[in-house]
């Protein structure tokens, strides 16, 4: 199989050399009236230029290396019939086309653009609307997904698809896309070495970004706003999360970032603003959290289940209802040199580090963990009183759960 592919590639290169690539134009008055015709007639490495207009087509299969570009954003309307573009060849570039009305199915994952077992593809400047799945990459490698806009109209989880889905992919770059109102903004399953940078994922029904069984990935400079929940990283290793903004993921079951069974990862320079739960940690080990900002979250960090060897340093916890919630008395995690806005200690030697250790777990948060119903006493005078007395002489909260070197000023 591999040999045949190589042979084809070789032939392709030969052809490429033999004959200058042609430009096939598609419009009402052109030689090619439909995109299907143009794709059928095109030879490898040709360019198909689709001019402005609406083309009612679906199930377009690209089986040779082509460049398909739109001029003045032409529209391909799938009329809810099913899949629209399927790329089954290496070195395909598509860009500048608006694709609408992907069919919804409960048995097949119809996508606006599907890439199957291909290498070196580029999908850029596409606008995808009224869709089921947006861009679906299947066993693809070394591709780029750039500057696309994906706008769904998902209402429920069960009958909606994901914006950009990567399944069994490697070395893909997903950069500067804007994804809105789908189930999961970006979904990765069994995908390694993926770079997700500068995307905006908002108003999605489930997660802004979702990792499953994916390792060695990096996501940075993205913003996740007002999703069912911001980002879920599950059953993955060595993920780097940098300079992202998790904002307004607000609701009774919402969180900015969920870590579930995550090992050896780094979370740095992120902003967690106004989420119900900033980071929910369940079974994460050897994760380092540094220089993150947590502002006005319900819970900044909620630790549940076994979490060992995590380090929290240089983070700023500002005006959260609860800075930290812990459901066990055993603590193997390290807190040091964080800034806590509720810290009331002093710094006599003026070295910027408080002389009194800070205990981030309040008694109320401890009680709420035991009996969730007690949350109805939130912000009652009684709770403030017992929190205060616990602060003065800790009796219930874990002894060793302290930040022994709390910062006096917020780290900028």
């Amino acid at each position: 199989m591999n040999h045949i592919t190589l042979l084809f590639l070789f032939l392709g290169v030969l052809w490429h050399g033999a004959r200058p690539p042609a430009v096939l134009e598609v419009c009402d008055s052109c030689t090619y009236k439909t995109v299907t015709d143009a794709i059928d007639s095109a030879q490898a490495y040709d360019t198909i230029l689709i001019k402005a207009g609406t083309y009612k087509e679906f199930d377009l299969k690209i089986r040779k290396p082509l460049t398909i570009l739109g001029q003045d954003l032409p529209t391909i309307d799938g009329q809810n019939q099913g899949e629209i573009l399927t790329i089954q060849s290496d070195e395909v570039t598509i860009g500048g086309i608006r694709i609408i009305n992907v069919g919804t199915s409960y048995t097949k994952d119809f996508a606006a653009i599907r890439v199957v077992k291909s290498k070196d593809f580029i999908i850029r400047d596409m606008v995808l609307e009224h869709l089921f799945f947006g861009i679906y990459l299947e066993k693809a490698t070394r591709g780029k997904v750039l500057n696309n806009i994906v706008k769904g109209d998902a209402e429920e989880e069960f009958n909606s698809g994901n914006g950009i889905q990567l399944w069994h992919c490697t070395f893909i770059e997903v950069i500067h896309n804007h994804i809105e109102k789908v189930r999961d903004g970006i979904y990765l399953e069994f995908s390694d070495n993926i770079n997700i940078t500068g995307n905006t994922s908002k108003n999605n029904v489930r997660y802004g970004l979702h990792f499953m069984f994916s390792n060695n990935d990096i996501y940075q400079g993205n913003s996740f706003v007002n999703n069912g929940a911001g980002v879920a990283v599950m059953f993955s290793k060595k993920i780097i999360m940098k300079r992202n903004v998790f904002k307004e993921n607000w609701g009774t079951a919402a969180f900015g970032l969920l870590l579930k069974e995550i090992n050896d990862s780094e979370i740095l320079d992120n902003h967690f603003l106004e989420n119900t739960i900033g980071i929910q940690v369940e079974g994460a080990n050897r994760v380092s959290y540094s220089n993150n900002l947590f502002r006005r979250n319900g819970w900044a960090v909620k630790v549940r289940g076994a979490c060992y060897g995590n380090t929290f340093s240089g983070n700023s916890f500002i005006n959260n209802s609860f800075d930290l919630s812990y459901n066990s008395n055993i603590n193997d995690n390290v807190f040091k040199r964080n800034y806590w806005s509720e810290y009331t200690g002093y710094d006599l030697d003026k070295n910027g580090i408080g002389d009194v250790p800070y205990r981030p777990v309040k008694l109320f948060s401890y009680i709420v963990n035991r009996t969730p119903e007690t949350i109805v006493l939130l912000r009652s005078f009684f709770m403030d009183l017992i929190d205060f007395s616990e602060k003065v002489s800790p009796a219930f909260t874990p002894d060793n759960l302290v930040d022994a070197y709390p910062l006096m000023k917020q780290k900028l």
Partner: protein
């Protein structure tokens, strides 16, 4: 009745205490907004203060005023005036002037800092409404204690105890029962327990209006389902009203029968 109301309001104005409270609320409002320009955040902080302080001020001020104006009341009782109008007049005078100080004192700073331009106007109005009803409730309760207790020291003791019970001890018992009975479904119990204490009810009503409600999680959802609807809010306001009407009725009832 209105004449007596007028006299008691004038009397309160002369006594300067209303101004002290007005000034206190004014300062509170300005300082809060000065330190933190965010109106919605200030509403949360105000809630904490209102829910604790308004009942305290209401009870203490109510009982103080009743004992202070005892001679005036005795004098009035000698006149051919209905007892109910005397006591209702006194009560409405105190509760009304307290509420007025609250509304003006907090309303003014917020108005200056652009209340109408912000989205929190409804939350703020609810806050003022609740503050007002708390004033009415706790003044009525303190008048009740005062009319049953001629001994001033005992009367003061009972009012402070009443406040302490409503603001602190009740929540403690509530918490304890939640923890002890954690194995049982507690939704209905917590809703009823909240209804029974005007301070808790006010706190929950305001919390549910603010974003912070999402923190309440599942329990919050149950509360939201109950109080979030039109009828729930009406029920809650009716309960607050009952908390006012019942003590006032008892006050008048006692006043009719008491041998002064």
């Amino acid at each position: 009745m209105f004449k007596i109301l007028k006299y008691s309001v004038y009397d309160l104005m002369r006594s300067r205490w209303s101004y002290v409270y007005l000034l206190f609320y004014l300062m509170l409002g300005f300082v809060l907004l000065f330190l933190n320009n965010d109106l919605s955040k200030a509403v949360i902080t105000l809630m904490n203060i209102i829910v604790v302080l308004v009942p305290l001020i209401g009870t203490i001020f109510g009982i103080m005023y009743y004992y202070n104006s005892k001679e005036f009341t005795d004098l009035l009782l000698a006149q051919p005036i209905r007892r109910s109008s005397i006591f209702l007049g006194l009560y409405l005078g105190v509760a009304g002037s307290l509420s007025l100080s609250l509304i003006i004192g907090l309303g003014l700073p917020f108005l200056i800092y652009g209340l109408f331009k912000s989205g929190v106007i409804w939350d703020f109005s609810l806050l003022l409404l609740i503050g007002t009803s708390l004033s009415f409730i706790f003044t009525a309760l303190s008048f009740n204690i005062a009319i049953s207790q001629d001994n001033k020291i005992k009367g003061f003791g009972y009012t402070v105890l009443l406040w302490l019970f409503m603001a602190v001890i009740y929540d403690g018992l509530f918490l304890l029962s939640l923890i002890v009975f954690e194995e049982y479904p507690l939704d209905r119990f917590s809703i009823i327990a909240t209804m029974l204490n005007p301070i808790d009810l006010s706190r929950i009503l305001i919390l549910l209006k603010l974003d912070i409600a999402a923190l309440l999680g599942y329990t919050g959802a149950v509360f939201q389902k109950f109080f979030g609807t039109q009828s729930g809010l009406i029920i809650a306001l009716c309960v607050l009203m009952l908390w006012t009407v019942f003590p006032v009725w008892r006050l008048l009832h006692r006043a009719e029968r008491k041998d002064f």
